[in-house]
Symmetry: C2
Subunit: 79 residues, 2 copies
Protein backbone atom coordinates (compact mmCIF):
# COMPACT_ATOMS: atom_id res chain seq x y z
CA UNK A 1 0.00 0.00 0.00
CA UNK A 2 1.03 3.56 -0.54
CA UNK A 3 0.92 6.09 2.27
CA UNK A 4 1.06 9.84 1.98
CA UNK A 5 2.21 11.52 5.16
CA UNK A 6 2.03 15.21 5.92
CA UNK A 7 4.15 16.42 8.81
CA UNK A 8 3.33 19.92 10.03
CA UNK A 9 4.56 22.05 12.90
CA UNK A 10 2.15 22.27 15.83
CA UNK A 11 0.34 25.56 16.40
CA UNK A 12 2.48 27.93 18.42
CA UNK A 13 5.78 26.46 17.22
CA UNK A 14 7.83 29.14 15.46
CA UNK A 15 8.41 28.51 11.75
CA UNK A 16 11.33 30.70 10.58
CA UNK A 17 11.44 28.94 7.20
CA UNK A 18 7.77 29.77 6.61
CA UNK A 19 8.40 33.37 7.65
CA UNK A 20 11.30 33.60 5.19
CA UNK A 21 9.08 32.33 2.36
CA UNK A 22 6.40 34.85 3.38
CA UNK A 23 8.98 37.64 3.15
CA UNK A 24 10.29 36.38 -0.18
CA UNK A 25 6.77 36.23 -1.65
CA UNK A 26 6.28 39.85 -0.55
CA UNK A 27 9.57 40.86 -2.21
CA UNK A 28 8.45 39.14 -5.42
CA UNK A 29 5.33 41.33 -5.46
CA UNK A 30 2.72 38.89 -4.18
CA UNK A 31 0.33 40.88 -2.01
CA UNK A 32 -2.26 39.53 0.41
CA UNK A 33 -0.26 36.63 1.80
CA UNK A 34 -1.41 36.25 5.41
CA UNK A 35 0.80 33.40 6.49
CA UNK A 36 3.04 30.61 5.25
CA UNK A 37 3.85 27.45 7.19
CA UNK A 38 6.27 24.86 5.91
CA UNK A 39 6.02 21.17 6.61
CA UNK A 40 7.28 17.92 5.17
CA UNK A 41 5.69 15.37 2.92
CA UNK A 42 6.52 11.68 2.56
CA UNK A 43 5.36 8.94 0.24
CA UNK A 44 6.01 5.50 1.65
CA UNK A 45 5.30 2.31 -0.24
CA UNK A 46 4.90 -0.69 2.06
CA UNK A 47 4.49 -4.37 1.14
CA UNK A 48 1.66 -4.86 3.68
CA UNK A 49 -1.71 -5.10 1.91
CA UNK A 50 -4.01 -5.08 4.94
CA UNK A 51 -5.12 -1.48 5.43
CA UNK A 52 -5.30 -1.42 9.22
CA UNK A 53 -1.97 -3.24 9.63
CA UNK A 54 -0.34 -0.90 7.14
CA UNK A 55 -1.77 2.11 8.99
CA UNK A 56 -0.44 0.79 12.30
CA UNK A 57 3.04 0.20 10.81
CA UNK A 58 3.15 3.67 9.22
CA UNK A 59 2.00 5.21 12.51
CA UNK A 60 4.89 3.49 14.32
CA UNK A 61 7.32 4.80 11.67
CA UNK A 62 5.99 8.34 12.19
CA UNK A 63 6.29 8.12 15.97
CA UNK A 64 9.79 6.64 15.90
CA UNK A 65 11.49 8.36 12.98
CA UNK A 66 9.51 10.55 10.63
CA UNK A 67 7.90 13.10 12.93
CA UNK A 68 9.17 14.79 16.06
CA UNK A 69 5.93 14.51 18.02
CA UNK A 70 7.03 17.11 20.56
CA UNK A 71 6.70 19.87 17.98
CA UNK A 72 5.08 18.22 14.95
CA UNK A 73 1.75 16.68 13.97
CA UNK A 74 1.43 14.03 11.31
CA UNK A 75 -1.41 12.98 9.08
CA UNK A 76 -1.48 9.61 7.31
CA UNK A 77 -3.48 8.94 4.14
CA UNK A 78 -3.46 5.41 2.73
CA UNK A 79 -4.28 4.43 -0.83
CA UNK B 1 -8.42 31.18 1.41
CA UNK B 2 -6.10 28.48 2.63
CA UNK B 3 -4.00 26.49 0.23
CA UNK B 4 -2.21 23.24 0.91
CA UNK B 5 0.65 22.61 -1.46
CA UNK B 6 2.51 19.35 -1.90
CA UNK B 7 5.84 19.56 -3.69
CA UNK B 8 7.26 16.22 -4.79
CA UNK B 9 10.29 15.19 -6.81
CA UNK B 10 9.51 14.13 -10.37
CA UNK B 11 9.82 10.46 -11.24
CA UNK B 12 13.37 9.58 -12.11
CA UNK B 13 14.91 12.30 -9.96
CA UNK B 14 17.18 10.76 -7.34
CA UNK B 15 16.01 11.22 -3.74
CA UNK B 16 18.96 10.56 -1.39
CA UNK B 17 17.01 11.84 1.62
CA UNK B 18 14.23 9.33 0.92
CA UNK B 19 16.82 6.57 0.51
CA UNK B 20 18.37 7.51 3.86
CA UNK B 21 14.96 7.30 5.57
CA UNK B 22 14.36 3.94 3.90
CA UNK B 23 17.68 2.68 5.29
CA UNK B 24 16.93 4.09 8.75
CA UNK B 25 13.51 2.41 8.83
CA UNK B 26 15.22 -0.88 7.98
CA UNK B 27 17.73 -0.38 10.80
CA UNK B 28 14.85 0.30 13.21
CA UNK B 29 13.37 -3.09 12.34
CA UNK B 30 10.59 -2.06 9.96
CA UNK B 31 10.37 -4.73 7.26
CA UNK B 32 8.52 -4.52 3.95
CA UNK B 33 9.28 -0.91 3.11
CA UNK B 34 9.49 -0.78 -0.69
CA UNK B 35 10.30 2.88 -1.15
CA UNK B 36 10.33 6.26 0.56
CA UNK B 37 10.19 9.59 -1.27
CA UNK B 38 10.46 12.87 0.57
CA UNK B 39 8.79 16.07 -0.52
CA UNK B 40 7.75 19.38 0.96
CA UNK B 41 4.45 20.65 2.23
CA UNK B 42 3.26 24.24 2.52
CA UNK B 43 0.20 25.88 3.99
CA UNK B 44 -0.38 29.35 2.58
CA UNK B 45 -3.15 31.62 3.78
CA UNK B 46 -4.05 34.28 1.22
CA UNK B 47 -6.45 37.22 1.57
CA UNK B 48 -8.04 36.56 -1.86
CA UNK B 49 -11.51 35.02 -1.45
CA UNK B 50 -12.25 34.20 -5.09
CA UNK B 51 -11.28 30.57 -5.60
CA UNK B 52 -10.02 30.79 -9.19
CA UNK B 53 -8.05 34.00 -8.52
CA UNK B 54 -6.54 32.46 -5.39
CA UNK B 55 -5.60 29.33 -7.35
CA UNK B 56 -3.96 31.42 -10.05
CA UNK B 57 -1.98 33.44 -7.47
CA UNK B 58 -0.82 30.30 -5.64
CA UNK B 59 0.17 28.73 -8.96
CA UNK B 60 2.33 31.76 -9.74
CA UNK B 61 3.94 31.50 -6.29
CA UNK B 62 4.73 27.83 -6.91
CA UNK B 63 6.23 28.52 -10.34
CA UNK B 64 8.33 31.44 -9.15
CA UNK B 65 9.45 30.46 -5.66
CA UNK B 66 8.04 27.39 -3.99
CA UNK B 67 8.76 24.61 -6.46
CA UNK B 68 11.72 24.03 -8.74
CA UNK B 69 9.70 22.94 -11.75
CA UNK B 70 12.73 21.43 -13.47
CA UNK B 71 12.82 18.59 -10.94
CA UNK B 72 9.65 19.00 -8.88
CA UNK B 73 5.89 18.69 -9.32
CA UNK B 74 3.42 20.61 -7.21
CA UNK B 75 -0.17 19.97 -6.26
CA UNK B 76 -2.45 22.74 -4.97
CA UNK B 77 -5.51 22.08 -2.82
CA UNK B 78 -7.67 25.05 -1.86
CA UNK B 79 -10.09 25.18 1.06
Amino acid sequence: MKAKIKVTLKNGVLDPQGKAIEGALGSLGFAGVNSVRQGKFFEIDVAEIDKSKAHEAIKQMCEKLIANTVIENYDIELS
